[in-house]
């Protein structure tokens, strides 16, 4: 599966939550190949534009049946603000699919996906694919407040069992995705072996999740985020040295890593 460079056409852009856009792109050769957990570099906006100078890495959020590739975009700075201004019919560069996606073990019966904030982006794609492959899928999704929750109704219709949390209690339980996981694991008891867990979100959340899964012996993976320049493994801008002694380029060796590699056994 080689990445490729394409011109993507914006087919839709919709504000779906606080400072968050859902961008639909037509980039058929990328959307045909991409697997959950992989990402695309979006940009340049035009060949000679230097604003922004670099492209932006964005997880693939969904691929629709008609091949439209969706990304979730949080407006956090100048580059993402320019992407958020894109309108239907605009074109821009797209590079992908990039990176290592999720590797769900063959014997898995239940997938638990734990997403914090924008970390939900790649998990929806994973959840949808695994649910349609016949697995039981739980999505545990937390955000700071209700208006920051990205709608996940469509994947719920595909059979994904969704639980929501907000830190201020404005929607779902009051708490975080970690609290949802705590409750989930207590309910499940010790059948960790047949479960696979995927997590994406703030570092502290991933660390907490790692602590909870390692004691259960549950196979798990985390998807990391980092600033990137190239997205293909050349610049080493996103290389991370983990406390385990292992290291990896988030863009090429990740963004999905075995949790043990990042946080230890």
């Amino acid at each position: 599966m080689k990445p490729l460079q394409a011109q993507a056409e914006v087919v839709s852009s919709q504000r779906v939550a606080w400072e968050t856009w859902l961008l639909g792109l037509r980039a058929p050769r990328i959307s045909d190949q991409v697997v959950p957990g992989q990402f695309v570099m979006l940009g340049p906006l035009s060949p000679d534009s230097t604003d922004p100078f670099l492209n932006r890495p964005l997880s693939v959020h969904r691929v629709s049946e008609d091949g439209i590739l969706y990304v979730l975009l949080a407006r956090v700075g100048r580059g993402t603000a320019l992407l958020a201004k894109l309108e239907k019919g605009d074109t821009l560069g797209a590079l992908g699919p990039l990176g290592r996606g999720f590797s769900v073990p063959g014997a898995t019966e239940t997938v638990i996906a734990v997403g914090g904030g924008m970390g939900v982006a790649p998990l929806c794609f994973l959840a949808e694919r695994q649910a349609s492959a016949g697995m039981r899928v739980r999505l545990l999704y937390g955000a700071a407040r209700a208006e920051q929750l990205v709608p996940v109704g469509e994947i719920a219709e595909e059979g994904v069992e969704v639980s929501l949390a907000t830190e201020d209690g404005s929607h779902g339980i009051r708490g975080t995705a970690v609290d949802l996981l705590q409750a989930e694991l207590e309910d499940r008891g010790q059948d960790g072996g047949k479960c696979y867990l995927a997590a994406c979100g703030p570092w502290a959340m991933l660390q907490a999740v790692a602590g909870m899964t390692s004691s259960l012996g549950m196979p798990s993976e985390v998807s990391l985020e980092n600033r990137m320049a190239c997205g293909v493994g050349a610049c080493l801008g996103c290389k991370v040295h983990f406390s385990t002694g292992s290291s990896g380029r988030v863009c090429r060796d990740g963004p999905v890593f075995d949790t043990k590699e990042v946080f230890g056994p």
């Binding site: 100078f53 590079l95 990137m228 293909v232 801008g237 290389k239």
Partner: protein, 307 residues
């Protein structure tokens, strides 16, 4: 169809064409080989290689700035043994010349490294990095003093039979003085320029955008500086110069060649468009044919100065 001769020589280093990729922006080529036809390039300059394995600088290592990029990767590299055993055999399967960018903590490091890399199959030249702004030892410390720069260059030349380029830093008062002294010790050419020391701060939080606080600025933001340096240095020394700094397209490459460069390196632009180097090559070739230059050499130094 009319053709033009794209070959160029940097001293003893013969290149099939003048379009190369800059150190640190192209990995060890395999990262980009999935996306572009690397074989079309004139040369690939590797990530900086040191004797020892280097872990590099703390995150964040990159930050975007207007028309450019700050980086403080800090010369993270797998060390010379891994380069010789793993990277070079794969790199040498590509057609372009392979130039190893080398970095040391001491003059003796540069000499030892040059000796270790001498006579290896598939390696066509060395680029001596005395201009990295991102490490406390070595790098730029050697590039800012003309005498020390010349001593590093001489140490390398004495230990290798390969063509030697020296990559100079623009972070000096008088780069021509450095260039002249380095040219005197018998190197094949100069690469101009490395990144400019630079810094950016988040105005809200007051936190520097780079973990290393200060880093190197690259991209089109530095192109006019690089063009000026190429212009000034090529008028002062007799050895060829490889121009580098913010090349985004073939027009920029033509600008560098008119300023005096015999070849060019595409750097940060590969990050935003991996095909930049190939587009530069195609565009340059078309420009030469359209304007009836029989070779790229004819274009070198054709800046038209006011009377």
């Amino acid at each position: 169809m009319k053709t033009t001769d794209l070959t160029t020589d940097i001293g003893r280093l013969h290149l099939a064409n003048p379009v190369c990729v800059a150190s640190g922006t192209f990995g060890f080529a395999e990262e980009y080989a999935e996306l572009i036809d690397v074989d079309l390039l004139g040369a690939v300059v590797t990530k900086g290689i040191s004797i020892e394995v280097r872990r590099g600088n703390p995150a964040p290592r990159t930050a975007e700035v207007p028309a450019g990029l700050l980086n403080s990767v800090g010369l993270e590299n797998p060390g010379v043994q891994d380069f010789i055993g793993e990277k070079l055999p794969r790199l040498s399967e590509f057609r372009p010349a392979v130039i190893a960018n080398i970095i040391g903590n001491t003059i003796d490091d540069y000499a030892r490294l040059s000796g270790m890399l001498n006579g290896l199959k598939g390696l066509d030249g060395l680029e001596v990095n005395i201009s990295c702004p991102n490490v406390s030892q070595g790098g730029i410390a050697f590039g800012t003093d003309p005498e020390i720069a010349a001593r590093v260059a001489r140490a390398v030349v004495e230990e290798t039979s390969l063509p030697v380029l020296v990559k100079l830093s623009p972070n000096v008062t008088d780069i021509v003085a450095v260039a002249k002294r380095v040219a005197d010790v018998g190197v094949d050419g100069l690469t101009l320029i490395n990144t400019l020391r630079a810094m950016a701060i988040d105005h809200e939080t007051g936190v520097p955008l780079l973990g290393n606080v200060i880093g190197g600025l690259s991209g089109p933001a530095i192109r006019p500086v690089a063009v000026r340096v190429v212009f000034e240095v090529t008028r002062a020394v007799d050895i060829p110069v490889v121009g580098c700094g913010g090349i985004m397209n073939w027009r920029d490459a033509v600008e560098f060649i008119r300023a005096g460069a015999s070849a060019v390196q595409v750097g940060s632009a590969s990050f935003r468009n991996p095909s930049t180097c190939i587009e530069v090559l195609r565009g340059l070739e078309k420009f030469l044919v359209d304007n009836e230059y029989s070779s790229v050499r004819e274009l070198v130094g054709t800046v038209q100065l006011p009377e």
